[in-house]
């Protein structure tokens, strides 16, 4: 066996390159004693301690509380949100109400049904559920069947929708009102009427989702000023449209071919096939665009269209998206919002009539001063105020937005107010018949709850009668 070092070399000084001493590793100018890093030894107990009488018995030791990190499986992503957003539409404990009738195509437009409670047929329930018209904050889950109170405002709104459809006009209307007064339910009733009468319904359940930078976006080429598409949202919306409007879409056919789509969609293909062409988010926006151009084609015979949106003030401000130059994108530059605003402002009309409805929200709504002042002005105009009497903008406030005011220049405004006492009585009788209100519904009870509910605000009436610690 050969020696690791050549014997002749042993006489030489070892080369510094190969042998690195501990001292060589430190900086040459350091004064730290590298090798003096001796671990501290435990102190030897003082032999005198016992004799002198120092404390030497048990010492106080504070134990750390044991934290049990192993608490089972964590919920999967999205599971907790799904539980929070779960919508339950029936309650087996509630008593069936024998006099309750199912809503049909004529009910909502007839003045006779004002002040009556009508239930939603199961097919309509599926359609409304697909378009996310029900909200988890509403109290559908107390009753055996989802039912709504038809109000005079509902009849008014639905009649206007019907009139505009028969005259091939587009109703442009914004539903406002104070908190919990039933604005979203008003939209739901409008949608119910539309579904029952064979309209095509496109509903954006929460405008916030369009602008809060929660879905992906991309520039639409060859647009000036630049517009942005939201392909993932387009896919979601197309699927909702397909599920809710399946029967109507299967009956009507395309009038133009769509060469921009990768799929071959010849003329006279059912619109359902066109909608089905969107399988992934990637191609969803062109498909939606094609569907939109089909629905608004003036040469085709189309059913009336209802385009509705909840939470208007979200789309009446800057969005949270950024342009390539890292500037905030105005919500009106997002293609979906632009389509909606085109119809709402009257620049675009549904050729066979229809309606575009927007509702404001009071619980989750950013401030949009231009929207507020515009709606106030429209309301004053409808009340017959002269132009000089209209509410005026504050002269020194800089937060107004001309684009918003241009959109809301000529819309109609409907303010939803509290229930009247007969209406309150009607819905309370339904609650009592369902076994959920355990009180005799007489003049005194109705008056009491109506007053507690801030003069008949429906959501507050529910809080005072159903969501309460006292049932009697």
């Amino acid at each position: 066996m050969s020696a690791p070092n050549c014997l002749r070399c042993l006489g030489r000084r070892p080369s510094t390159a190969t042998t690195v001493t501990a001292a060589g590793r430190c900086a040459p100018f350091s004064t730290t004693a590298v090798n003096g890093n001796v671990p501290m030894r435990a102190k030897t107990p003082n032999p005198m301690a016992k004799e002198i009488g120092f404390r030497s018995g048990a010492r106080l030791t504070i134990k750390k509380k044991k934290v049990n990190h192993n608490e089972g499986k964590a919920p999967a992503p999205g599971e907790r949100k799904a539980y929070r957003k779960k919508i339950v539409l029936s309650n087996d404990n509630a008593l069936p109400v024998p006099w309750l009738k199912n809503m049909n195509a004529e009910h909502l437009a007839s003045p006779q049904s004002a002040g009556k409670v009508l239930s939603l047929p199961s097919e309509l329930q599926d359609q409304l559920r697909a378009s996310e018209a029900f909200q988890p904050s509403q109290n559908w889950g107390f009753f055996r069947k989802p039912s709504t109170l038809v109000r005079t405002e509902t009849v008014d709104l639905v009649t206007r929708m019907q009139d505009s459809a028969s005259e091939k006009k587009t109703l442009r209307l914004v539903v406002t009102g104070s908190k919990l007064v039933g604005k979203s339910t008003m939209l739901l009733q409008a949608m119910a009427h539309a579904y029952l009468n064979g309209w095509i319904v496109i509903h954006i359940p929460d405008a916030q989702e369009l602008v809060n930078a929660s879905t992906e976006y991309g520039r639409i080429p060859e647009t000036e000023p630049t517009q942005y598409m939201q392909p993932a949202y387009a896919l979601k919306l197309l699927q909702a449209i397909k599920k809710a409007n399946e029967k109507v879409l299967a009956k009507i056919n395309t009038v133009s071919s769509h060469p921009e789509l990768p799929q071959n969609i010849p003329v006279n293909t059912p619109l359902l096939t066109l909608v089905n062409a969107a399988k992934e988010a990637e191609g969803a926006w062109p498909v939606f665009h094609a569907l939109w151009s089909e629905l608004t084609n003036p040469n085709a015979n189309r059913p009336p269209v209802l385009f509705s949106l909840d939470g208007l003030s979200h789309i009446m401000k800057m969005s949270e998206y950024r342009s390539p130059s890292f500037e905030l994108i105005h919500a009106h530059d997002l293609a979906f919002v632009r389509l909606f605003n085109d119809v709402l402002s009257g620049n675009l009309k549904f050729p066979n009539g229809g309606a575009v409805l927007a509702s404001t929200s009071r619980s989750n709504a950013p401030r949009s001063p231009s929207m507020e002042i515009s709606l106030a002005q429209r309301k004053a105009e409808q009340a017959g105020a002269a132009p000089e009497e209209l509410p005026k903008k504050e002269p020194y406030f800089k937060g107004y937005d001309d684009r918003v005011e241009a959109v809301l220049k000529s819309v109609e405004v409907m303010e939803v107010k509290g229930l009247t006492k007969p209406e309150a009585r009607s819905i309370m009788e339904y609650w009592a018949a369902s076994g959920m209100l355990r009180a005799a519904v007489d003049e005194r009870t109705v008056s009491e709850k109506w007053t507690l509910a801030g003069n008949g605000v429906l959501g507050e009436l529910e809080r005072a009668s159903l969501l309460t610690m006292k049932y009697f």
Partner: protein, 289 residues
Amino acid sequence: MPPRLNILSSACKALARGVTRPVTVAAAPHQQQQNAFLMAAARRFSDNTTSPTTPPGQDDSVLHPSMFPQNQQSDHQIALSKLEMVAYGLNPFDVSVDGHKFGLPELPIPSEMHKSYRYDAVVNLMTKLLMKDGKLAKAQRDMTLILAYLRKASTPKLNPARPLVGYAPAPEFLPLDPVMYLRVAIDSVAPLIKIRHFKGMAGGGRALEVPAPLAERQRRRTAFGWILDAAAKKKSKGSGRTMFPHRVAEEIVAVVEGKSSVWDKRFEVHKRGTAVRANLNDFRLKTLM
């Protein structure tokens, strides 16, 4: 109270002068119906809100004459109105009609009309136990959500090995009366006794354990404390402010169905109480009494 008058003499005087007052009430065949109608007229048909914007005072003709200040009414007008009431077969001095918008309350006033006793005793106690950091309104909202959960939860399947309290209705009625549901759950697992510990009295530094009976309120407090402990150990399924009340409500359902661990706690306390009941006669205790 209008001054008592010689009705007939002043009425005759008024008639002689030809004073008339618009009649506001219609004749009805039955006296009770008339009475109700008159009362409704007096409060201006609060059921009928076709003209809700009319400010009060504009249509004074509907108001009952006794609702005007006394100095504006002459004696004979009062007398005339009384005579009218006699003509319609009503008692002119009926206090339930005279001068009260909603009539007089029934006496004695029921206890739940007092603001401090507005809610059921069990609900009230449990709400206060739910409260943290003095936030009563939050506790009340939580209690509301618990009761709402109980109404929507499916009918509980009872466990015969865990019998409920005697007054419990059939299980299918429980969701329709959530307050009863809550009361049944709590009273069913409420322990009858607690164990008192007398320090060092058992000899050798050990505590002497003696069972002691609990009052109703104490029993309920203990039971709900156990239920809250069990709910705190549960895991939330979702997120948001409904989660805590939902966990408590799930535990209440579990109690009624006999699945809850609270039943074991109650059993343990009762078993221990039975084991140490002989200590009640312990001579060392007698020195304390």
